[in-house]
């Protein structure tokens, strides 16, 4: 499962944000997309996931000209729900009206109830949160919430995963821990991943770095 992205042009009506960006990510690899704020990193992710339209409501609409393919299959015209591309937002965005377990269960594909619940229990276990299932997400610490958010994204069995500065809201000590946690899980899951950050310490794989916001 290889993710190939070609952005010919990503622009508002009169301002080009990103031009001629091309990259490929192989299964289990993590590409890091770097750049200062305003360089369009998050917008590139939104273009890949197909959420440009819904996230930029209110501000100026972005137009995306290019192609996103997964193993040669063109996703560009598909709605977000059918792309199979997971997105981990800067905020954990745990649903406030669901328990921790329900948040996870929400992501598990349809199937026999017992198997779905088992998948949730295993995810909680892996996140070191066994026994936290019935909790209100608001009662969890920032680090715990971040882990739940990652497990939720993975439980949907995405074919590729995008991460939008997932470490930026954590303090330094948690950051290292959570970074290792994320990288381990991504490599295990065997999906291609794109990580956006402005912090060089977050680079997952020095051989796979793309810098935005630099001419040429």
């Amino acid at each position: 499962m290889t993710l190939a992205v070609h952005i010919h042009r990503l622009a508002t009506r009169d301002h080009t944000l990103v031009q001629d960006l091309r990259f490929e990510v192989a299964p289990g690899r993590i590409l890091t997309l770097m750049g200062p704020s305003g360089s369009g990193k998050s917008s590139v992710l939104a273009a890949i996931a197909g959420t440009l339209h819904s996230v930029t409501e209110g501000s100026e609409a972005l137009r995306f000209d290019g192609a996103v393919t997964l193993d040669g299959r063109d996703l560009t015209r598909l709605p977000t729900a059918q792309r199979g591309i997971g997105l981990l937002f800067q905020d954990d965005l745990l649903f406030a009206h669901m328990t921790v377990a329900e948040n996870l269960l929400f992501a598990v594909p349809a199937g026999p109830k017992r198997e779905r619940l088992a998948a949730v229990a295993q995810a909680l276990d892996e996140a070191g949160l066994a026994g936290f299932g019935a909790r209100d997400p608001a009662t969890l610490s920032g680090g715990q919430r971040a882990r739940v958010a990652l497990m939720r994204a993975l439980l949907a069995r995405p074919r590729a995963l995008l991460l939008d500065e997932p470490f930026s809201k954590l303090d330094a000590a948690l950051r290292d821990q959570f970074r290792a946690f994320v990288f381990d899980h991504l490599r295990d899951s065997g999906v291609p991943a794109v990580l956006v950050t402005h912090d060089a310490a977050d680079v997952a794989d020095p051989s796979l770095v793309v810098e935005l916001g630099r001419a040429g």
């Binding site: 996931a49 819904s54 729900a81 059918q82 792309r83 997105l87 649903f95 669901m98 929400f106 779905r116």
Partner: protein, 549 residues
Amino acid sequence: MRLSSNVSRRHLGAGALLALAAVPVLWTALEALKTGSHPAAWRALAQDPALTHAALLTLWTGLASTLLAWWGAAALLARGFVRQRLARLLRGLPVMLATPHAALAIGFLFLLAPSGWLLRALSPWLTGFDSPPPWATTQDPWGLGLIAALVIKEIPFLLWTAATQLQRDDVRQRWRAEHALAQTLGYAPRRAFWLVLWPQLASRLRWPLLAVLAYGLTVVDMALVIGPATPPTLAVLAWQWLQDADPATYAQGAATGVLLALMVLACSALWLASQQLHRRALAHGHGVRGPVERTPGSGIGLWLLLGVYAAVLLALAVGSVSGVWAFPAVWPQSFTTVAWEQVAQSSGTVLTTLWLAAGSSAVALVWSVAWLELAPRRWDDAMRPLLYLPLVLPAVLWVVGLYGVGLQLRLEGQVSGLLIAHTLMVLPYVLLSLSPAYLGFDPRYAQLNASLGRSGGAFLLRVKWPLLKRALASATAVGFAVSVAQYLPTLYLGAGRFASVTTEAVTLASGGQRSLTSAYAGLQLALPVLAFALAAWLGRPRRFTHSAA
């Protein structure tokens, strides 16, 4: 030192405000309960042959209208949110919201009645009728006309209360992001809305929904105009008994009011319990992602809603200037301004309506702002049920209490009594509509202001209120509209000495004077619409003369 005295001064202010609102509300409620709890009256009520049928009719019209309004509003919101057309959905809302219940019912009457526009448009070419058929299309014994009118009236109210939530920046951005997230997990946009956003929105609409339910179960003015007549709903029955000079019958009417309150309570509990069950069943969603294809052409709901309001408006406008208008003719044969001349001659009615509405909404606004500014959040949360009591208590019961208090204080038939009665009714609506924006105001602005060395007063006048002016203006307009639409309080506390456009319109609706009824109903509609237009103008965002290059 200074800080603690500041805090205690705030508490003192909030306490005074609370007393100002809570004492009359509690007193009125207790007075009403006292009048409505005579054992003899309850015995008489229990033996009344009309009771069972009226109670069943009340349950049917109240629950059916609430369910349909809730479902309709939810469907419109889902569509508007998923297609990102909420702004368009909300554009026509002020006019619909401002339309008083009675005016809508009267307009509906002129559309649906056997001699109404609908049948005129189809006669005689389709129906073959040369004279109005003897059908019970408006005061039908099943209450269908009442249900339809209630649904049409309550959908805009629910949409608007939802909009006050969705227009909060913090909430909207978060929900947009959650909606996008659910889609990255594979959920179709509509299903993502129902599973993720609707449960969160629905729980914030609990109070407005209970108000709709209570209103549907206890409505009098609309039911008088368009509801079933023999037998009527329980609220109309209570109203008829309360008109009686015999104290025993009056007490029976008051007891019926208490019974209605108990029914509201029971239905609310039932509603909340079933909503809870439904949400629990939905919370898991079984992982089904839903079909991604768009359901085509279901935008008809919004057009239907807008169409009904436009037809009502037109029916009232044409009706008010109609002279001779024989049955199958679609347009009147002659036009006349007699009705409007009559309205102009009784300008006291319009003036009474205006000062009552302006006075009560202004007082309610000042109180609400002061309360939201001073009261600790804990107090506010705890006191909301009490402050919202007038919303959920049946109007027939509420006026019994008002009347009793009015008599004791000799306020009955007085300007001050009428103003207090209206303000108590207007206050919960103003508070309800102002709270989301006011409480959602970013507290960091205040800290920033203090760090710049500016006083708290300057902050309110120069920063907070200007930024909130749209919410302040529209909350006042809501209050104005609520006051204009008041029927029973005006009737009871006015003691026959004050008439408003609403009492005139409802009284006239049962007679045969189409043009005068239309004129008053039209006026009843026009006044709040003008108030909303004024609010929109006052609340418009600042236009900067230098735009970005």
